[in-house]
Structure formats: structure tokens, C-alpha cells
């Protein structure tokens, strides 16, 4: 390497450091460490989720340069992107697949954090912002799915928003709020578009900033079992450059997976939505909503034969309560807070995971 670039880099560095306080960054680069133990493999999923989120934002911005959010033009603009714009098919396929990959990675990240009891003190807020972020990502998935305005998207949204209406008290409000009217229409599309590109990203960035800041402050959580095993002194590796290199390998693996999926299973354009057509048989939401959809389908219309105990409403209430419990688990798991073993919550977490997996599988098998 010739000495000229190195001198240039040095003077550039000095220029910035004289004006911007980079001591926090330097400190992190020098001192930050990541614990190494039996379960430290799961740490990579958080960073992978962040990487996929960045991919989504970049491809999303590229797509919105050509997308038109009206019922008359949405489908045609997506068709334009896929057939006319250079590499438009690629950007679109990557965006659609990365969305699914992101949510899958988030499931892993969230459940691994739960089972490793990372939510215990002092990381309660980190956990709660994480759960909120997960809900936001599901919101991204739901709102984005409608945007191509094809048959599948239109009817899935119709069914999905109809389920929201079954919520007691606020159901009617939610339905009209989501649909921007009584029916799924161009107004719904415009609203979902606004949510997808402006509202949700703004909220996400704010919550994500808090989440990452807290992770940075507290470092990685070590599961109680490992703490006990290493009697409080868990071995660690440096963040820069060791952990980052491994993180990068993971990110490249995710990129490779995206390329594979976009190549072997390119995302279809489908048929333009026709609101007057009958709902296609076997319409179902994307896989990440399927477990809820399937559970609701399996519930009888009236529980125990009681008139006012509507199955759908009870189902939604149960899911809402479960979601609330999930959010507040740091405060519910008293034993872990006291530093004791908490088998109950581990089992609950495993059962929840199994429930989700089984219901998702059933959703596909019971066509």
C-alpha cells in the first residue's frame, strides 16, 4: 500500500475528531465485548434482523420511486416495475422475500431472548421495546401486503380487517380506521400506503433507537443457567473485530438466502384485484398471521353452546391477553426477578412456540 492514502486517512480522521466527539465510538471499538457460551449463537439473530430491516428500507425506498398508490394504478405500477424498470423484478422480489425473512428471524430472536430470560433486570425496557418492534413489523407486513393490489392481497386484507371488526367495543372503530371506510377500496390502499412508508417507519425508528441504545448500554444478556455454570465469570470475545466479522458472515448468509429465494421462487405479480369477484376459496393470510387465523377458524361459533360467548370474540380476547402477558413478562416472572430458576416460564415459552408452529402447519395442511 502506498503511503499517500494512509496520510490522507490520518488527516481526515484528525479533522473529524477535532470537531465531533467520537470517544463513545472509540470506547465501544476498544472495550465492547460479547460473552461466549453454549447459547451465544442466538445473539447473531438480532443483528441479522437489523440487517434485513436495512435491506427492507433500501429496497422499499427504491420501490416507492415508481409505485403509485391508487386503486387504478397500483397494480400497473408494480407491473411496470417488474417488466420495464431495469432490475425492478429483482428489487421487488428481494423486498417481498426479505419481509418474510425478517419476520422469521424476529421470531427466532424474540423466542431465543425469551427462553434465555434476557428480559430480566435491567433489560425490562429492552424487552418491551422489542415486543413493540415485533408488533410494528407485523404491521409493516400487513400494510405492505395490500400494496400490489392483486387478487390475493385484496381478499386477504378484506378477511384480515373483518377479523379486526370482531373485537368487542373497539372492533367497529378499528375496522373503519383500517379500511378508511366500510369496504376495502382505493381509500384503504392510500391509508395502508401512508402507514407503510411514513407512520410505521417513523415509530419504528424511534423505538428501534431506544432498543439499540439500551442494548449498547447493557451489553448482551447471559442466560441464568450459563451464569451458574461459569460461576459468574463468562468468557467473552471482542466486539471489534471478532464479533463483527462473524456477524458479517451471518449477514452474507442472509443475503445469499435472499438471492436464492429471489432466483428460485420469484415473487408473482398475480391478477389485478376485482372487488366484485367472489372471495377465492381457501384465502388465507401470510404465514406469520396464519396461526392466529387458524386458531380462530378452529374455535366453535359459540363456546359451550352459550349464545353470547362468540368463539371469534373470545379468541381475539385471548390473543390480546396473551400479547399483553408477553409484553409484561419481565414483571410477571417473579422467580427470575428474584434470581431463582423459573421452569414454569421456560415451559410456557416452549408451549407458545409449539402452538404457533402447530397452528401454522395446520393452516397449510387443512386447506
Amino acid at each position: 500500500m502506498s503511503p499517500v492514502p494512509r496520510d490522507l486517512l490520518q488527516s481526515l480522521r484528525r479533522f473529524v475528531e477535532e470537531r465531533v466527539d467520537l470517544s463513545a465510538l472509540r470506547h465501544m471499538a476498544r472495550e465492547k465485548e460479547v460473552p461466549q457460551h453454549r447459547h451465544s449463537f442466538w445473539y447473531y439473530f438480532g443483528g441479522m434482523a437489523l440487517f434485513l430491516l436495512i435491506v427492507q428500507m433500501v429496497t422499499g425506498i427504491l420501490l416507492l420511486l415508481y409505485y403509485r398508490p391508487s386503486a387504478e394504478e397500483a397494480f400497473e405500477s408494480v407491473q411496470f416495475i417488474m417488466t420495464r424498470v431495469e432490475f425492478g423484478w429483482l428489487i421487488r422480489s428481494v423486498h417481498s422475500w426479505a419481509a418474510n425473512l425478517l419476520i422469521a428471524v424476529l421470531f427466532v430472536h424474540m423466542f431465543s431472548a425469551f427462553l434465555m430470560k434476557a428480559y430480566r433486570r435491567p433489560r425490562e425496557i429492552t424487552w418491551m421495546t422489542g415486543v413493540v418492534l415485533f408488533a410494528l413489523m407485523l404491521g409493516f407486513g400487513f400494510s405492505g401486503y395490500l400494496l400490489p393490489w392483486n387478487e390475493l392481497a385484496y381478499f386477504a386484507t378484506r378477511v384480515g380487517t373483518a377479523i379486526a371488526a370482531a373485537m368487542p367495543l373497539a372492533g367497529e372503530f378499528f375496522l373503519r380506521f383500517l379500511r378508511a371506510g366500510d369496504e376495502v377500496s382505493g381509500a384503504t390502499l392510500a391509508r395502508f400506503y401512508g402507514l407503510h412508508v411514513a407512520v410505521l417507519p417513523a415509530i419504528t425508528l424511534a423505538v428501534l433507537a431506544v432498543h439499540l441504545l439500551l442494548v449498547q448500554q447493557h451489553g448482551m444478556s447471559v442466560p441464568p443457567s450459563e451464569e451458574r455454570r461459569h460461576s459468574g465469570k463468562v468468557p467473552a470475545m471482542r466486539f471489534v473485530p471478532d464479533y463483527i466479522l462473524r456477524d458479517l458472515v451471518g449477514w452474507l448468509a442472509a443475503l445469499a438466502a435472499l438471492a436464492l429465494l429471489a432466483a428460485l421462487f420469484p415473487w408473482e405479480l398475480g391478477k389485478k384485484a376485482d372487488p366484485f369477484q367472489a372471495v377465492p376459496v381457501g384465502i388465507k393470510p401470510e404465514w406469520y398471521f396464519l396461526f392466529m387465523f387458524q386458531s380462530l377458524k378452529l374455535l366453535p361459533p359459540h363456546l359451550f353452546g352459550i349464545e353470547w360467548l362468540e368463539g371469534e370474540v373470545v379468541g381475539i380476547l385471548v390473543f390480546t391477553a396473551a400479547g399483553g402477558a408477553w409484553l409484561l413478562v419481565p414483571f410477571l416472572d417473579r422467580r427470575t426477578a428474584r434470581g431463582e430458576r423459573s421452569r414454569l416460564f421456560t415451559v410456557a415459552g416452549v408451549l407458545a412456540l409449539l402452538f404457533i408452529i402447530v397452528m401454522t402447519v395446520l393452516g397449510y395442511v387443512l386447506e
Binding site: 460473552p35 415508481y66 424498470v85 429483482l90 447493557h218 447471559v222 459468574g232
Partner: protein, 164 residues
């Protein structure tokens, strides 16, 4: 924050026999790695750069089309077929010099109609259907008039669009 030790060797395997590669070779391999990374980055930025430039035919939907021939090239009492999105259109210049445009899809069985300068009417060769210069079906099997399109003249160019 430090629940863990900073023992660098903790949890890692003992050194492998053979030792690290020499500095020169290592420098070369680092360069290779860097170059490869740059190549990968290029293969990501290249499609994005191409994507950002819109294609030539910029209009996504076929609501408006500029015809590929000039006004001066169209003789009075003549008709020409043009592409309107994915459907054929018929441009007619009447004997008086007026421009009219219609969808060229016959309303009977979807054949492509044509202009007849002897009758100064629009004719379908499949079953002898006839339309007048307002697009109204006046003879033969066509059940409905031809859809009329709007013609705008911009300088020497002809722009056809859907009726607003």
C-alpha cells in the same frame, strides 16, 4: 456491565500447528478479500444505479400515446392503425382534414377494423360491419359503436388519449 471475564483465550481452541501465514502473503490475501468485497458491493450497487434511471417508454398506463408519425405524414381521407397500450387504435383523417381516433377493435367479434376511403366509413373485413365517422355502428353485425378516443395536436405531433 462486566458479568464476564476478558480472557481472550477463553472458550477457544489451542493454536494450530503451522503458525500464521507470513506478513506478505497475509497482506496479499487481505487485498484479495478486500477486492472481492468491493466486487460484491459493485454487484449490489450496479443494479440499483440502473434501477434509478427510468426506462425510455416512461408512461406506465396506456391512458395517453404519442403517435410515431407526424401530422404532415397523414393524408386526408386516410386511416392508420396505431398501438394504444396493448390494443390497436385507428386514426382517421377525414376528407376535410379533421382528425378522429377510435379503438380499432370491432364490437362484433374483436377483429381489427380499417378505414375505407371509397365509402369514407370504417369497415370490418370479418363480417362486413360498417361504422360511420362518429364510430356508430350503422350496418352489419356490430352491436355497439367503436370507443372514441381524444385527439390532441401538439405542433407536428399527434397525441391520442382516452376520453375524459
Amino acid at each position: 456491565m462486566s458479568e464476564y471475564t476478558t480472557d481472550p483465550r477463553a472458550g477457544e481452541r489451542p493454536p494450530v500447528a503451522g503458525g500464521p501465514p507470513e506478513p506478505a502473503r497475509r497482506g496479499f490475501l487481505n487485498l484479495l478479500l478486500g477486492g472481492w468485497a468491493v466486487g460484491l458491493a459493485a454487484s449490489i450497487f450496479y443494479p440499483i444505479a440502473r434501477y434509478l434511471v427510468p426506462p425510455r417508454t416512461s408512461e406506465a398506463s396506456a391512458a395517453q400515446v404519442t403517435l410515431p408519425f407526424k401530422i404532415s405524414e397523414v393524408k386526408p381521407n386516410s386511416g392508420t392503425i396505431f398501438k394504444f397500450g396493448r390494443r390497436p387504435g385507428l386514426l382517421v383523417r377525414t376528407e376535410q382534414g379533421e382528425f378522429k381516433a377510435f379503438s380499432a377493435i370491432c364490437t362484433h367479434l374483436d377483429c381489427t377494423v380499417q378505414y375505407r376511403d371509397d365509402a369514407q366509413q370504417i369497415w370490418c373485413a370479418c363480417h362486413n360491419g360498417l361504422y360511420d365517422l362518429r364510430g356508430r355502428n350503422v350496418s352489419g353485425p356490430p352491436p355497439r359503436p367503436l370507443e372514441e378516443l381524444q385527439v390532441h395536436l401538439k405542433g407536428d405531433e399527434i397525441v391520442v388519449s382516452k376520453m375524459s
